[in-house]
Amino acid sequence: MGQDTGKRGIASVGGYLPLLRLDRSAASKGLQFSGLGGRNAGYRTTAGWDEDALTMAAEASRHATSTVAPTRICFASTSSPFIERGHASMLLEALALPANARTIDVSGNRRCAVSALLDALLGQGDTLIASGEKRPVRAGSAFHTAWGDGGSAAVVTDDGSAALIGYASLARDYVDLYSSREHPTPYAYEERFVKETATRDVIAPTIKAALADAGVTSADIAHAAICEPLPGMWRDISKATGITAPNHASDLSAAAGDLGAAHPLFALALALDAAQPGDIILLAGFGSGCDTLIFKVIGAVAGAAKARAALTQGLIFADYVRFLSLTGTIDLDWGIRSEFEQKTQATVLERYGRDMIGFIGGRDTRGNVQFPKSRIPVRPDADGPEPMEDMRLADVPAKLVSVTADRLNFTPDPPFWFGLVQFENGARVMMEFTDADADGFKVGDSVAMRLRIKSHDKRRGFRTYFWKAAPALRPIMEA
């Protein structure tokens, strides 16, 4: 392509990490007797029980779409919760985007978001690529602490501030770990094989081809976002390619964990945050081959600073058993109260589901906003049915009217916080709360809305989504 030919580029990015950050040394301590586990430095982002690949991709997308409304939506993940239910369609509804947008899910390997990004850059239309991962891993496996949970997003437009100036792809059925429907958790192959051949045969050749395509050299790269198949491979990749720029993908692995399909776009966001206009950035995604993209930074890219801030906005925890429970590696007996039926009726979901996942309330003819909508408004002087205009509440500031930490009610991560939330536009909703920090919640607290799993019907493998109130500001991590 070359530096003067790339026109389409990245207009905005998003990065989302769960509140909880496991201190990896806690896992090492818990596993000390066994000699199992992996690295014990840094933190491992840990999704709440009510988060999954979709919710984290949605949160990242909210950052990336605050200034652009895409007409194409691509969801990328290797841990999509559903087999037959389009995540991109759900994402579209969660973001309240027009239903005539084109949607597609991509998967198959952890490179998929980068592949989709490249397709978008070579295609047409304002496109959102959103990725989320919450990958199942068995306790004791090195992946359990090396991997993390999170979401990332990028929006591609014709005039994006980071323009594509070169790329290269390599397709290769390269098996560095075993994971399938029959065995969803990763089964690792010998590390030395991966470290030696993945760099030599897959990553380095693709990077070199992309550099050539862009007409730049390794020395021209100011920031890299090169995903390592395994922790600690960056040094060999750097040596093989000659790139000495800081690799934000490695930094992300240390601070949060390997985010799988969400990793490359998050690392790209970090690179964009660190870059100056004129800088050249190299992005490489690995998995069943490699895609390498080279960008020239023209100006600031929206959302990049927020992605960086997410690295340190969290709550460190060292409770290894809680970590095991949250990651689904132990199945605690929560007693009879946890047995309640959570079946979702498809007919009900069809009638009300869009208003739920989009958090759409209604504004009556006198301007009062309520949730959910009703035929006769809740407004005390309403005297009959009125038409209601859709009003999205997801981004409306709100405060708590009442609150409690319920320790009787079952929740997979007690206590169960809930209460009455008053929105600035007049709406109020009795809601569940999430992401409690050490101080919990109290009346008058400012809260922000987060898309979360509302009900999880394990019997039928189904889940519904709704919004929950979270503290408006997250704590800053103090190591």
């Binding site: 949730f371 009442s402 609150v403 409690t404 930490a405 320790r407 169960f416 009455l420 519904t464 709704f466």
Partner: protein, 397 residues
């Protein structure tokens, strides 16, 4: 113009089972026991019963749908029998239906019976919902203590009260109910508990500790009603009469409109206002109350909602002993939901049973000296979405 039903309905018989974890009794046993006591008290033949209403809140794990469990248990011979349900206000709802039937002149003798068999769930507390319908897509799955605990923070925020004072007042509410329950042979919990134990109990839903919460019980209560004229004909010269019976239900204002501050229960206020008007009395004319103390914070807030304490002063009235058995306005002389127990569909009628007993001087060790009017307050749902029933009972003359 409606004139209300004051003194148009007499209660001539009441019955109430022991409440508790009645492992060896089924719904039929409970129904029959409560009814037979009421029937004997009324002094009429069972064949004279013209209509019956059964109140039962949680049919899924309970007595079964419809009126048939009552009709079968009592072998009511082809008379009109209906089941009513209004969450925890179900018992009063059954009484309201029977009372209105008498007041309307539709029948001579009607039965209201509330029953609940809750201890077949396998755990404490109320059964969990099993619907999967529209509200489940967004409403929190909060427990009953969780929904009522919301009152506490909102109350302290509104009145500037300290959390410590509130906690002590709530503890006093429970301390009082335990003391009263110890005097009641039919109560589920009959053990007095000291303040320290209450204050240091494990937390259930902040700031409600274990002793701030009533449990759930098995039990039944029953009333037989007729007209004062028929009662006199039966030799009851000065029967207990219904002075008022009112109900107020949420229409969504609290949880979906921006005015409510979460610190009080408007349906209690509305039902009470109408009940006082129907009875032609004020709050200060009452001799006693039996209120819906599902949680200690509920009783505290209810004292204000009923107009018995000024806004923001219930904490201090409670701590001063105003609502103790020897106080100016005794509340829960029978131990209340907290200690008599809470078989949901029966609770409203259990409250009426205590007021009826006090009015007739039958309350034994807990009998109050002078009882002219007694109020029952039966609350269903949660503060943000409730049904409140308030009734006032007294003597005809």
């Amino acid at each position: 113009m409606a004139s209300g039903i004051k003194d148009r309905v007499a209660i001539i018989g009441m019955g109430c089972t022991v409440f508790g974890e009645l492992w060896d009794k089924g719904p039929e046993d409970l129904i029959v026991e409560a009814f037979e006591e009421a029937l004997a008290d009324a002094g009429i033949a069972r064949g004279q019963i013209n209509a019956a209403w059964v109140g039962n809140a949680l049919d899924d794990i309970n007595i079964g749908n419809s009126a048939l469990p009552l009709a079968h248990a009592l072998r009511l011979k082809s008379i009109p029998v209906s089941r009513v349900e209004n969450m925890c206000a179900t018992g009063t709802e059954a009484l309201r239906a029977a009372t209105y039937a008498i007041a309307a002149g539709a029948v001579d003798f009607a039965v209201a019976l509330g029953v609940e068999k809750l201890k077949d769930t396998g755990y404490g507390g109320l059964p969990l919902r099993t619907k999967g319908l529209a509200n489940d897509l967004w409403m929190p799955y909060g427990s009953a203590p969780g929904t009522f605990a919301q009152l506490a923070g909102a109350y302290t925020a509104r009145h500037g009260a300290s959390s410590e004072d509130l906690k002590r007042a709530m503890a006093h509410v429970s301390w009082k109910s335990h003391r009263n329950g110890a005097l009641n042979a039919k109560a589920h919990l009959r053990k007095a508990v000291d303040m320290e134990t209450i204050l240091n109990a494990p937390m259930i839903a902040n700031p409600l500790g274990l002793f701030d919460c009533c449990g759930v019980s098995d039990g039944a209560a029953c009333a037989i009603v007729t007209t004062p004229e028929i009662a006199k004909g039966l030799g009851i010269a000065n029967p207990v009469t219904v002075k008022a019976i009112q109900l107020s239900a949420s229409h969504g204002w609290e949880a979906s409109y921006h005015e409510w501050d979460g610190s009080s229960i408007r349906n209690t206020q509305e039902a009470a206002k109408r009940a006082y008007a129907e009875a032609g009395i004020s709050a200060h004319d009452l001799s006693m109350t039996e209120v819906h103390d599902c949680f200690s914070i509920t009783e505290l807030v209810t004292m204000e909602d009923l107009g018995l304490s000024a806004e923001g002063s219930a904490i201090f009235d409670i701590l001063d002993g105003r609502y103790d058995n020897n106080g100016a306005m005794p509340c829960q002389t029978d131990g209340g939901l907290k200690c008599f127990g809470h078989p949901v569909g029966a609770s409203g009628l259990r409250m009426a049973y205590e007021v009826y007993s006090q009015l007739l001087g039958r309350a034994g060790d807990r009998q109050l000296a002078n009882v002219d009017f007694g109020l029952t307050h039966n609350l269903g749902g949660q503060p943000a979405n409730s049904v409140a029933a308030v009734s006032i009972l007294g003597r005809l003359n």
